[in-house]
Amino acid sequence: MAPVLSVENVSVSFPGGRGDITVVDDVSFSLEAGQSLVIAGESGSGKSMVCQTLLGIAPGAAKVTGTRIDWKGRDLLKLGEAEWQTIRGSEIAMIFQDPTAALNPLITVENQIVDAIRAHRKVSRAEARARAIEVLGLAGFPEPEHRMRSYPSELSGGLRQRVAIALALSCSPSLIIADEATTNLDVSIQAQIVKLLRDLKDKLGLALIFVTHDLGLASDIGGDLLVMYAGCAVERGPVNDVLTDPTHPYTRGLLRSAPTLKSSRANPLRPIPGQMPKPGSVGAGSPFRSRCPVVVDGVCDIKRAGWTSAGPRHDVACHRFALEGREGVR
């Protein structure tokens, strides 16, 4: 199947005092209908900026460059604002981290969804209202006919996030981007929302991009995983393959520092020493070189590693791996 979305060599930079500051550096990925992609990384890895670029909502000062972002045959890099209006919220929708901030506190749930539908489709209020009930039902919102007259403040955090999901579904998008959409929720509500997103993807044939810093959550979403560090993609492949056989020193470090339900102090977590480099200070070399335990002297500080295959559809951008394979990064 042809991918619905194909991102080719996209970079995002901001003008800085001493030249441009690059926050997303040459990132590529593609996604088919009904598939999911998890983008994992820590704060400052550029994962949210990638999402904003896909929705044309990157801050005004941001300079987005790249070969092409192909969306169903159109190049998103070349769109004007008027064209973005026809795609944003309609063909590509986003679910934000904080549903309280994403919803208007002064407008009822019903009217927010009806307004969103009528902004994109020429339908009557009654038709839009019927659609609102339908999407709230899909999002697992209880008794939508009655409770959609509530204001966001009358709902719990989990229900608000369901409203945000219904809002995203309202215009039948082909791609939903969920940016840390479950981070603020309780674990049991988080598990429900993750299951809901997975079910919706399968039922409606949606493409899903799920951004998270939690590798445990990545394994629950499934599909493909893209690990980002300091604006660069460092490892990509099926979620299960990357998490059971991590090859990039950063992915390995991240997994060693994340506690699981099997962790105990007999087998201590090993934090990655140091801190993420400041944006713009990475230069031409490997982004992870200042914290990497297996850095290749004279190579990693000069040039960025290209992709090396670590298995079927599983690639890693690491000089050490390219030179010595799995033994080198152990």
Partner: protein, 263 residues
């Protein structure tokens, strides 16, 4: 021995809704003992009463019924609470709102010493620097303002401020949940080091059971204001008895299940 005990704590709030006042029982008959050098986990979802209980244990809230004892003595008068707060310190969830935005880090760390009149003003600066180094921060941080620090650095500053009085017990409310995984691992390593080096006891409140499993030796599971299950971490996590604990454990996203399935 310096043991902090919460004995049969009840806390009710009056809630007004639709002109009627009703009583909300946030904490219902909960007891908690923190032995010296022990790390006790307190888990449960938002609204289960874990933060309210911890705030009662340091006197930010007053209990409706029940008492707090420290070293076997009940804590009642203002003077008792003042004494308790020299030995028991609280680290808040949000490292940014817990720090005064216009106060330099060095001054923020020296303030507890001034409040409790602990060491001569001339020596305070050296103690601040020593503490910053102990939590893995550079001495330069003393001159900075909170907004010049990253989230992980701010949380270390909060820890450092709580440790300035050399407390025996630290109450930590969700202190790692806002941090990135690699920073979280650094803070957890620091907590373990403090426990081992200073014999510090910790009440560790978290909704992340993975972190609790790693850090704590004993755990209390709270649900709707009550403790539904408690015991050694291994026992509770490997063989949960209460259906709520079972549901909570099943909801944790966990990639170790993958590794288990693969091997």
């Amino acid at each position: 021995m310096s043991t902090l005990v919460a004995n049969r704590i009840v806390k009710t709030f009056n809630v007004k809704r639709g002109g009627k006042t009703s009583e909300l029982r946030a904490v219902n008959d909960v007891s908690l003992t923190v032995a010296p050098g022990e790390i006790v986990g307190l888990v449960g979802e938002s609204g289960c009463g874990k933060t309210t209980l911890s705030r009662i244990m340091i006197g930010i809230e007053t209990a409706t019924a029940g008492e707090i004892t420290y070293d076997g003595r009940p804590v009642k008068s203002r003077a008792d609470w003042r004494d308790l707060r020299r030995s028991v310190q609280y680290v808040f969830q949000d490292p940014f709102t817990a720090l005064c935005p216009t106060m330099r880090i060095g001054d923020a760390l020296a303030e507890p010493l001034a409040i409790h009149n602990i060491c001569p003003p001339a020596e305070r600066k050296a103690r601040v620097i020593r503490m910053l180094e102990m939590v893995g921060l550079h001495a330069d941080v003393a001159r900075r303002l909170p907004n010049q620090l990253s989230g992980g650095q701010r949380q270390r500053v909060n820890l450092a401020r709580a440790l300035m009085l050399e407390p025996k017990v630290l109450i930590c409310d969700e202190i790692v949940s806002g941090l990135d995984v690699s920073v979280q691992a650094q803070v957890l390593a620091l907590l373990i080091e403090l426990q081992e080096r200073l014999g510090l006891s910790l009440v560790f409140i978290s909704h992340d059971l993975r972190v609790v499993r790693y850090l704590c030796s004993r755990v209390l599971v709270m649900y709707m204001g009550e403790v539904v299950e408690q015991g050694a971490v291994e026992a509770v996590f490997d063989n949960p008895q209460h259906t709520y604990t079972q549901a909570l454990l099943a909801a944790i996203p966990d990639h170790s299940r993958l590794t288990a399935a693969a091997s």
